[in-house]
C-alpha cells in the first residue's frame, strides 16, 4: 500500500501564498504565464439541459472561489454534448485539440464513458463530476478520476439510511411499495435495492413494485395502484418531473402513507420540486450524497452559492464545485500544465477539508473515490435538510409524514 501525501486545500493555498511571497516558485510554474486549460463537458442543451446548466453553475462557482483563494490559474472551456451520450467523445476530442490538458465532466454516465474513451486515447486526465454507472471504473481506463459514488454504493448507502430510520425515530414501518420509472436507471436501482434489501436484512417487506413508463405524463393509475397496496412506505424511483406528478396525485387521492423515501434517485431535493409543490413537497425523504452541513465551510459555500446564483446548492452544483477544487489542488501540486504531471498529482490526491459528506478525497487504483458518504435528506420548510446519518444531521426526521389534508 502506498503512502499518500496529506496535502489539504489550506496547505496548498498557504504554500502557494508563501511561495509567491518569497519568489521561490519552481521553474515551470513560475514560467507558466498561461493558465491551464480545463475542458468541461456537460449537457448544456437538450432534454437534460436543466441538470447540465446546474452543474455548470457549480463549476463556475468553484472556479470563482479557487481564483479568490489564490489558486492556480485555470481557463475553463465548456463543451455541450447536447444531451446525447455519443456526443461526449466528439466534444472531448475538440476540447483536447483546443489545448485542454484536463477534462471535467459530465452529468450523465453515458456521455462520461464516451468522454473517457477520448481521454484515454489522448492520455488526458478526466475528472468525473457526476456519473454513477459502475462500469465506468471497471473498464480499465487509466485516465479517469471519479469523485461520485457508483450506483452500488448509492443504493447501499440508501438502504442503510432506510434501515436505521426506525431506530432513529422509534417508529418501525413494516411494509413498502416501490413505484419506479421503467428505464435503465429505474430498473438498475430496483435491482440494486432488491439485492441489498435481503443482504442487509432490512426489516421492511417490499410488498409490490409498480413500474411506469418513462414518457408517462399522468401517474394517477400508478399512484392509485400503489395506494391500494396499503403499504406503510412509498419508495419512489423518479426524476424530478415524475416525482412532482406522484406527490400531486397523492394529494388529490388523499393518500398519506407513513413516509415517502426515495432510495437514491434525483428529484425531491431539486428546486423545481419544492417550488412546484410548496408545502406538499415537505416530508419527502431521499437518500443521496450531499454536502456536509456540519462543516462551517460547506454551509458558507452553500449560502453564498444560493445568494449569488439564486439557485439551490444541490447535488449537481456541489459535486461540480468540488471537482474544480480537486482540479485546482492537482494543478497546484503538478506545478505544470502537462497532462502527465496533472495525472500523477491526481493519483496522489488527499484532500481532507472538503465540502461533501464523507472521508478524505482520494482515488483508488481504478480512479474511484471510495470515501464518499451518503445522506438522508428530508424536505422541511420548502428545502432539503440532512436528517441522517445522525452525526451529520441538521434536523430531526418528521416521521410519520404529516397527512396532506392536514397541511
Amino acid at each position: 500500500m502506498t503512502r499518500r501525501s496529506t496535502i489539504t486545500r489550506r496547505k496548498v493555498l498557504t504554500a502557494g501564498a508563501g511561495a509567491l511571497g518569497l519568489g521561490v516558485l519552481p521553474g515551470r510554474l513560475a514560467a507558466q504565464t498561461k493558465p491551464v486549460k480545463v475542458g468541461v463537458i456537460l449537457y448544456l442543451t437538450g432534454v437534460q439541459a436543466f441538470m447540465g446548466q446546474q452543474t455548470r453553475k457549480g463549476n463556475e462557482f468553484g472556479a470563482k472561489i479557487v481564483k479568490e483563494s489564490g489558486g492556480p490559474a485555470m481557463e475553463f472551456v465548456y463543451g455541450d454534448a447536447e444531451s446525447k451520450p455519443e456526443n461526449g467523445r466528439v466534444v472531448a476530442e475538440r476540447l483536447i485539440r483546443e489545448g485542454c490538458t484536463l477534462l471535467i465532466g459530465t452529468n450523465d454516465s453515458g456521455s462520461t464513458i464516451s468522454v473517457a474513451q477520448a481521454a484515454e486515447a489522448a492520455k488526458i486526465p478526466f475528472l468525473i463530476n457526476i456519473a454513477s454507472a459502475p462500469q465506468i471504473t471497471e473498464q480499465g481506463f487509466t485516465q479517469i478520476f471519479r469523485n461520485f459514488p457508483p450506483a452500488t454504493t448509492l443504493v447501499a448507502n440508501a438502504v442503510m439510511r432506510i434501515k436505521e430510520l426506525g431506530s432513529v425515530t422509534g417508529i418501525e414501518p413494516k411494509t413498502a411499495v416501490m413505484l419506479h420509472v421503467n428505464d435503465t436507471f429505474g430498473q438498475g436501482l430496483l435491482k440494486g435495492v432488491d439485492a441489498l434489501w435481503e443482504k442487509l436484512n432490512v426489516p421492511i417487506k417490499i410488498v409490490d413494485r409498480i413500474a411506469y413508463d418513462v414518457r408517462a405524463r399522468d401517474l394517477s393509475v400508478e399512484v392509485g395502484k400503489a395506494r391500494s397496496v396499503g403499504a406503510d412506505l412509498l419508495m419512489p424511483v423518479t426524476r424530478v418531473s415524475d416525482a412532482i406528478l406522484i406527490v400531486r396525485e397523492m394529494v388529490k387521492q388523499n393518500w398519506s402513507p407513513m413516509g415517502i423515501i426515495s432510495p437514491g434517485s434525483p428529484g425531491p431535493y431539486e428546486k423545481a420540486f419544492t417550488d412546484a409543490l410548496g408545502k406538499y413537497g415537505d416530508g419527502y425523504m431521499s437518500c443521496v450524497p450531499w454536502y456536509d452541513p456540519t462543516k462551517k465551510r460547506s454551509r458558507e459555500i452553500a449560502q453564498r452559492f444560493e445568494k449569488e446564483t439564486g439557485d439551490r446548492f444541490d447535488l449537481n452544483a456541489a459535486f461540480a464545485f468540488e471537482a474544480v477544487e480537486i482540479a485546482a489542488d492537482a494543478i497546484s501540486r503538478a506545478k505544470s500544465s502537462d497532462p502527465a504531471a496533472i495525472h500523477a498529482a491526481l493519483k496522489t490526491t488527499n484532500i481532507e477539508d472538503h465540502i461533501i459528506l464523507g472521508g478524505p478525497i482520494q482515488f483508488d487504483e481504478k480512479g474511484q473515490n471510495p470515501n464518499i458518504g451518503g445522506a438522508m435528506l428530508q424536505n422541511q420548510g420548502g428545502k432539503p435538510v440532512v436528517i441522517g446519518p445522525v452525526q451529520a444531521a441538521e434536523a430531526k426526521p418528521v416521521f410519520p409524514l404529516v397527512p396532506y389534508d392536514k397541511r
Partner: protein, 290 residues
C-alpha cells in the same frame, strides 16, 4: 377497491374527451380538405404555450383561457391555409406530407428558440384538488378540462349544423363539386376549416397545459394520439373522433388496471391494430371516395 376501479375508468374517460377535441381538429381538416396535418401535435403545443403564457399573465385557470388559445390558433390556421396550404391542395399526397412535416419541424424549432427545452409548469390551487362525489374522487383539473372540451365540441357541432358557414363546410365535405356548383367559395371554406381544425388543437393544448408540463418535444405524442383516435374512429368522421377519444382513454385505463400502468400506450396501439384488421376504415369511417 371498487371505487379505485371506478375512479380510474372515469379518469380515463375524462382525458379521452380532451383527446377527442384534439382528434376532432385533425379529422375535420382531413374530412373537408383531404390533407393530413402532420403538424397537429405542434399546434397543440402552441396551445399549451399560449395556455401557460396567458395563465402567467392573467392568473386565470387555463380551462377558462382555452377559447382564447383557440381563437389565436384559428387565426394562425386561417392564414396558413390561405398563404401556403391552399397551393398544395391539389398536389400529390407526398408533397402535402412533406409540407406538414416541414411545419412540424419549424414550429418545434421556433419553440426551442423562443422558450428553450426546459419544461414549464403551471401552478394553480386546482392542481392539488379533487371533486368528491360519493365513491368518486375526480381530479379537479382533468374534470375542468373535460367539461370545457365538451362545451367546445358541442359549440362546434352546433356551428357546423346550424350556421351558414357550417353548412357550407359540411357541403364541401360531402360533395366538393356540388358545393362549388351552388356557389360556395371553396377557398374560404378551406381556410375556415383549417382555422377550426387548428383552433381545436390550440384550445385542447391550453386545456392540457396544467396536466402536462409544457415543452417542445411533446408534439409527437399528441400527433400520435390524434392519429390513433381518428384511425380507430374513422378518418373524417366527427362522431368517430368523439367515440375514438373516449375509447382510447377508457382502453388505456383498463390496460393500466388489468395489466400494468407501463403498458397503457402499448394497449392503444394494440387497439389500433385490432380495429384496422376488422374495420380498415375505422369504426365510423366511410369507404374510400372513388
Amino acid at each position: 377497491m371498487t371505487s379505485f376501479y371506478i375512479n380510474v375508468l372515469v379518469g380515463g374517460l375524462l382525458i379521452g374527451v380532451v383527446y377527442a377535441l384534439i382528434a376532432l381538429g385533425l379529422t375535420i381538416i382531413f374530412g373537408v380538405m383531404r390533407v393530413v396535418n402532420f403538424a397537429h401535435g405542434e399546434m397543440v403545443v402552441i396551445g399549451m404555450y399560449l395556455g401557460y403564457g396567458l395563465w402567467a399573465a392573467t392568473g386565470l385557470s387555463p380551462w377558462l383561457l382555452a377559447p382564447a388559445a383557440g381563437i389565436v390558433l384559428f387565426g394562425l390556421g386561417y392564414i396558413l391555409q390561405r398563404a401556403i396550404v391552399n397551393a398544395f391542395i391539389d398536389r400529390p399526397q407526398h408533397a402535402q406530407f412533406i409540407l406538414f412535416i416541414s411545419f412540424a419541424l419549424v414550429i418545434t424549432g421556433c419553440h426551442l428558440v423562443l422558450f428553450g427545452p426546459d419544461p414549464r409548469s403551471i401552478q394553480t390551487p386546482a392542481m392539488m384538488q379533487s371533486y368528491v362525489i360519493g365513491p368518486l374522487r375526480l381530479d379537479a383539473v382533468r374534470t375542468q378540462a373535460a367539461m370545457m372540451a365538451l362545451v367546445l365540441i358541442a359549440a362546434l357541432v352546433v356551428f357546423l349544423k346550424y350556421s351558414t358557414i357550417g353548412r357550407s363546410i359540411r357541403a364541401a365535405a360531402d360533395n366538393l363539386v356540388g358545393a362549388q356548383v351552388i356557389g360556395i367559395s371553396v377557398r374560404r371554406v378551406y381556410a375556415i376549416t383549417a382555422g377550426i381544425g387548428m383552433a381545436c388543437a390550440g384550445a385542447a393544448g391550453a386545456l392540457v397545459s396544467p396536466l402536462f408540463d409544457t415543452q417542445p418535444f411533446l408534439a409527437t405524442d399528441f400527433t400520435l394520439i390524434a392519429f390513433i383516435i381518428v384511425i380507430v374512429g374513422g378518418l373524417g368522421s366527427l362522431a368517430g373522433a368523439l367515440i375514438g377519444g373516449g375509447l382510447i382513454g377508457f382502453a388505456e385505463a383498463i390496460a393500466a388496471l388489468a395489466f400494468s400502468p407501463a403498458l397503457k400506450t402499448i394497449f392503444s396501439y394494440a387497439l389500433l391494430v385490432f380495429v384496422l384488421l376488422l374495420r380498415p376504415n375505422g369504426l365510423f369511417g366511410e369507404r374510400e371516395r372513388s
